[in-house]
């Protein structure tokens, strides 16, 4: 009565094959990791991905520039507004236009809100995976508020599609700023609470310190970006290094770790939330009235009011919807600092209505490619901690 599993085990000696995923509470989306174990020690980890591959890049070649925006929502669905911002910045770079001041400020505002929401998910869920459930609850209350704010601004909680090429879908509604002010105070307190629960918690230390440590050279070689790279000691943040949307005018710091382990990544994310709150405070202080879309009927749709009452606007509306924008021929790569790291869009235009080629450079794909090196020789429980701290979002990984 030899079962297949037994003969497999005999073949491999004492090695055992364990599947983590595709459907597992700690895999953060649908991805599969084949672990080869000796006892409980990991000898080899083979990530298998593509379960969420939707062919976003292929679809983008067959959609107009504006129509691609909803697809960017589904990349990193924990902070979809940042993907909207990253994509529209890339198209605006291709067009060579600059958006109005107020639109820039609002983009910064919602991006930083999204960064906080994303870090809350990452830190909270990482803690839950390791067994610290309470921090998750305290932080998720704040995440709810962020989604309430997104709902006010964009009408959607998760898939926001808030930006448009040349500006925004609409201006911030009344009541947004007061709620945001309240959020700033409450979130600060929640982050402090979370820190009190975790930062000096000996169990948290035991589970996270020294796990997934990586040197700065290796991190760069693997193409790490974002909090994971900064935790390894490389102060690379595109908001400072290659500022966009006026980030150079805001006052904020870049937290940097030393060892790159799970604990440092946690500390970096916590501090980044505080810095994001600082940026939001500055945006609210300087938010100036004005238009939120470029004044160019060949790029931004005219307001509905004008479309219904003026001939010229109706024609512009028709031309934009039916024929799209007049795009220059050329190629651009535009990168923004998303919550996970450098989110890049490489767009090749042949002058047509649709992009000739659109490439999304997801931040978590290079990070995830180091998974085997990160967990080799560790225990299964450590693999779960590392996976959480990498903040793999399968929608972005598989595209």
């Amino acid at each position: 009565m030899d079962s297949i599993a037994l003969s497999r085990q005999q073949l491999d000696g004492d090695h055992m094959i364990v599947n983590l995923g595709p459907s597992h509470p700690t895999t953060h989306g649908t991805l599969r990791i084949i672990l080869e174990l000796e006892g409980e020690t990991i000898l080899k980890a083979t990530p298998e991905m593509g379960y969420l591959h939707r062919g976003v890049e292929k679809l983008g070649e067959n959609l107009s520039y504006q129509q691609f925006i909803p697809l960017t929502d589904r990349l990193n669905y924990c902070s979809s507004i940042m993907n909207n911002v990253g994509y529209t910045c890339a198209v605006e770079k291709l067009l060579g236009i600059e958006i109005p001041k107020r639109a820039q400020q609002i983009r910064v505002l919602v991006s930083e809100l999204a960064r906080i929401a994303d870090h809350i998910v990452c830190v909270g869920v990482n803690a839950v995976d390791i067994g610290a459930f309470t921090a998750f609850l305290y932080l998720f209350k704040q995440r709810e508020t962020v989604y309430d704010l997104f709902e006010m601004a964009a009408g959607q909680r998760l898939h926001t599609s808030f930006t448009r090429i040349g500006g925004l879908f609409r201006d911030l509604p009344e009541g947004f700023v007061p709620l945001c002010e309240r959020f700033l105070v409450e979130c600060e307190a929640s982050v402090d609470e979370c820190e009190r629960l975790l930062t000096h918690n000996p169990i948290w230390h035991d589970r996270t310190k020294g796990i997934g440590a990586i040197s700065a050279e290796d991190a760069v070689n693997y193409g790490y970006t974002g909090p994971c790279l900064r935790a390894a000691g490389v102060p690379q943040d595109l908001r400072k290094a290659q500022p966009y949307l006026g980030y150079e005018t805001y006052d904020f710091d870049i937290p940097v770790g030393t060892t790159g382990d799970v604990f440092d990544r946690y500390l970096v994310r916590i501090e980044e939330m505080r810095q994001s709150l600082r940026i939001i405070r500055q945006v609210l202080d300087r938010l100036e009235p004005g238009p939120v879309n470029v004044d160019d009927p060949k790029i931004a749709l005219p307001s509905k009011e004008k479309v219904y009452t003026r001939m010229e606007s109706l024609i512009h509306h028709f031309k934009l919807i039916m024929h799209g924008m007049e795009m220059p021929v050329g190629e651009v790569y535009s990168a923004t600092e998303a919550a996970n790291g450098e989110l890049g869009f490489y767009i090749v235009s042949d002058g047509g209505k649709n992009p000739y080629r659109i490439r999304v450079r997801p931040p978590c794909l290079p990070i995830f490619s180091s998974f085997h090196d990160q967990v080799k020789g560790c225990l299964i429980a450590d693999a779960v901690a590392v996976l959480g701290a990498m903040n793999i979002i399968a929608g972005e990984l598989d595209r």
Binding site: H53, K58, G344, R359
Partner: protein, 172 residues
């Protein structure tokens, strides 16, 4: 600035260049690609941001000695010290291979697998050139322009005009 260095140290390597919206782009032939990568690595371009490809099915294969081909393999580098970015494009013909960069940059591993998966460009010397996003028996390469948008019934593997894994079945 880096382009002057390249011109000085590898004269004639750059076959074309342009500077659109502040993005520096150079086109090099496959033969001078590896020396260029060594040079870039020495000059501080140690962050390989991205590898991808663009399909130009109408472009003729190699016209009169000039480097050309169906695909452009596109590399993006970043210099962390000077924050300078550089895009390197290498034209390759259909069926032609590229040298792997996995020796220099570990991040090249999965990016090259993805390019192989979606475009069918092989990378010489890659330690594990398997499909990354689609499954091993997937017919064709999804981001080629001649691959149908609806997937061409990949489950039955009929009606698909794209070549089936370059005529060979995946191993393993």
């Amino acid at each position: 600035m880096i382009i002057e260095h390249i011109d000085a140290q590898l004269p004639g390597a750059v076959t074309d260049r342009h500077d659109f919206r502040g993005d520096q782009t150079i086109v090099v032939a496959k033969a001078s690609f590896l020396p260029l990568v060594d040079l870039l690595h020495r000059e501080g371009f140690q962050f390989l941001v991205d590898i991808t490809a663009v399909d130009w099915p109408e472009r003729p294969n190699a016209e009169g000695g000039a480097a050309a081909g169906r695909f452009d393999v596109v590399y993006h580098w970043l210099n962390l010290a000077s924050q300078e970015r550089l895009r390197v494009k290498v034209p390759v013909a259909d069926g032609e291979t590229m040298p792997t960069l996995t020796g220099h940059f570990k991040t090249a591993d999965w990016f090259e697998r993805e390019v192989f998966d979606l475009f069918g460009i092989r990378f010489d010397g890659h330690p594990n050139l398997k499909r990354l996003l689609t499954w091993d028996d997937f017919p064709g390469h999804a981001l080629r322009k001649d691959f149908p948008l609806d997937g061409g019934d990949p489950f039955c593997m009929e009606g698909c005009t794209a070549p089936y894994n370059n005529g060979e079945r995946a191993r393993g």
